[in-house]
């Protein structure tokens, strides 16, 4: 499938040497798109759609809205790509747009605290993973999303970037447009907040299980 041929491994898109290769490849695709090759943009879309969808989904928490916002992100990228500053990383720019659009959408929600508990996550299952382990991991994802949706947006986005996209502090600071120190402080507060919410929701259940 064409889609698979552009997908990279999770968590390696912006880190280390492969990020540089990805950046070079992106620049080539961007140059082709600016020269009028529409298929180059399709390649960029297929390459990054899962990453963008995950960021948006993690912040919004609703699959339908996440799909719409993801499409809007790429529409904005399609319009603004001629003005993209050459030399900067396309992925950073794309993630920044995604985070901003998702945060705007999340803030515009009247009832943002919503959890799609019934949604089936299409988790990538490793061949050697047992069904029990897969179910447990899926349950973890639901819990994480539930707790995330109880957090303020400014804590949600940084946790999504750190844990869903596995970006470094430097990359997070670049995406969020702040200093590394500010990103560290924000991440610390987000983790603390997440722990409090997690323990408030699931701590009692865990203690009950331990007492058994």
């Amino acid at each position: 499938m064409q889609e698979r041929s552009y997908a990279l491994d999770w968590g390696t898109l912006m880190s280390g040497e492969r990020a540089a290769h990805a950046s070079d490849a992106d620049e080539g695709l961007i140059a082709r798109f600016l020269a009028g090759d529409q298929s180059a943009f399709d390649s960029l879309f297929l390459k990054y759609q899962d990453y963008v969808y995950n960021i948006v989904y993690g912040i919004i928490g609703k699959p339908e809205e996440a799909r719409d916002v993801t499409q809007e992100v790429f529409l904005q990228v399609h319009r603004a790509l001629p003005y993209f500053r050459r030399g900067s990383r396309f992925a950073t720019w794309l993630y920044r747009i995604a985070v901003n659009r998702a945060v705007d959408a999340a803030r515009s929600q009247r009832r943002g605290r919503w959890l799609p508990l019934g949604e089936t996550l299409k988790a990538e299952k490793s061949p050697q993973e047992s069904p029990e382990r897969a179910a447990e991991r899926q349950s973890d994802h639901s819990i994480v999303q539930h707790v995330l949706m109880s957090l303020p947006v400014q804590h949600r986005d940084i946790l999504v970037l750190r844990y869903f996209q596995e970006l470094s502090i430097e990359e997070i600071a670049e995406v969020l447009g702040c200093s590394e120190q500010a990103a560290k402080v924000r991440l610390h507060r987000a983790r603390m907040h997440f722990k409090e919410k997690y323990l408030a929701i699931y701590g009692r259940e865990e203690r009950t299980l331990e007492s058994l």
């Binding site: 879309f45 994480v144 999303q145």
Partner: protein, 317 residues
């Protein structure tokens, strides 16, 4: 005392460790920082409990939720892209259409203004110069050197002198002197052969050649003869050519002495508008009459021996 210091020192160290605990749990600290936190955790049960809570809460986050995008994401994007491009093209077209309409409107309005100004200029220049009988030949003849208002009015449109009560636009069609009801000029054409320019609906003529102003006066004469008599007296009848010479008028049966009060001349382009005000004083010196005369004329630069300037014509009137 010593125990208090030790307690506050421990609390301070606990606060420092609390700040580092999430990063310690996630393995993001430098080796030196990690050793310091681990050393404190070995001694402090409260911080160990905090560390355990962080490990418990953050462990689900470490397994990233790898969602794949919906299969129709790409197709839906293309649908929205086509819609967005069509909308953008439509708005561009609308913008161009609006700009074209704006330019067209500008051209039409400015062209109309230029055309109107041109027409006005042409009518002012081509209007027949009032023939004032002050030529050397006629001066010694039997003709009166001072033309009557009717002479001027019937020969051309400029200058036209009028009272405020009887104001008519300078380019209005031929005007009829009071009392000469039999004069009915062609309502369709002026003497110059050009269509009349009406600046007031009162000057539009009906099929019989009567203007609304004349019809109004006829009605007024029928129903309010006293007003017509008073108005005639009030105007001191400048058309009879006696105003400048006598400086006197009769107002409501009393003789009043006229004094010039205002004399203002405004020149715009080739047109000169003169406003002259006079006041009439009765025998006791009380103000009995105010009369305002407004005249408009077009200054002509070329003068022929048989023509005189409007100023001359006014002086001779």
């Amino acid at each position: 005392m010593r125990s208090t210091d030790a307690k506050s020192e421990r609390l301070s160290r606990c606060n420092d460790v609390h700040l580092l605990l999430p990063a310690y749990v996630e393995g993001e600290l430098t080796p030196a920082e990690s050793r310091r936190v681990a050393g404190h955790l070995a001694l402090c049960a409260a911080c160990r409990r905090e560390e355990a809570q962080y490990r418990l809460a953050l462990s689900p986050l470490r397994a990233p939720a790898r969602r794949t995008a919906p299969p129709d994401l790409h197709a839906g994007f293309h649908v929205r892209l086509a819609r967005s491009q069509a909308r953008a093209q439509r708005s561009r077209l609308q913008l161009r259409w609006a700009a074209a309409m704006g330019v067209l409107l500008l051209v039409v309005t400015s062209g109309a203004s230029v055309w109107r100004a041109q027409v006005q200029r042409n009518s002012a220049v081509s209007a027949p110069t009032p023939v004032v009988n002050i030529s050397p030949g006629s001066r010694s003849g039997s003709e009166s050197p001072t033309p009557t208002r009717q002479d001027i009015a019937m020969k051309g449109s400029a200058p036209v002198e009028e009272t405020a009560q009887d104001r008519v636009a300078p380019n209005a069609p031929d005007r009829q002197a009071p009392g000469s009801a039999s004069a009915k000029p062609n309502p369709k054409r002026t003497d110059s052969g050009k269509p009349p320019v009406y600046n007031s609906f009162l000057d539009v003529r009906d099929r019989e050649g009567n203007t609304a102003r004349e019809l109004f006066r006829q009605r007024r004469r029928q129903h309010h003869p006293e007003y017509d008599r008073q108005a005639t007296l009030a105007s001191a009848d400048p058309r009879e050519g006696s105003r400048r010479n006598t400086d006197a008028a009769v107002w409501q049966g009393k003789k009043v002495r006229l004094e010039p009060a205002v004399d203002v001349r405004l020149g715009v382009g080739s047109a000169v508008t003169t406003v002259q005000g006079e006041r009439g004083l009765d025998a006791d010196g009380n103000l009995a009459l105010i009369r305002i005369r407004v005249s408009t004329s077009a200054e002509t630069k070329t003068q022929t021996p048989d023509s005189a300037s409007p100023a001359d014509s006014r002086e001779n009137e």
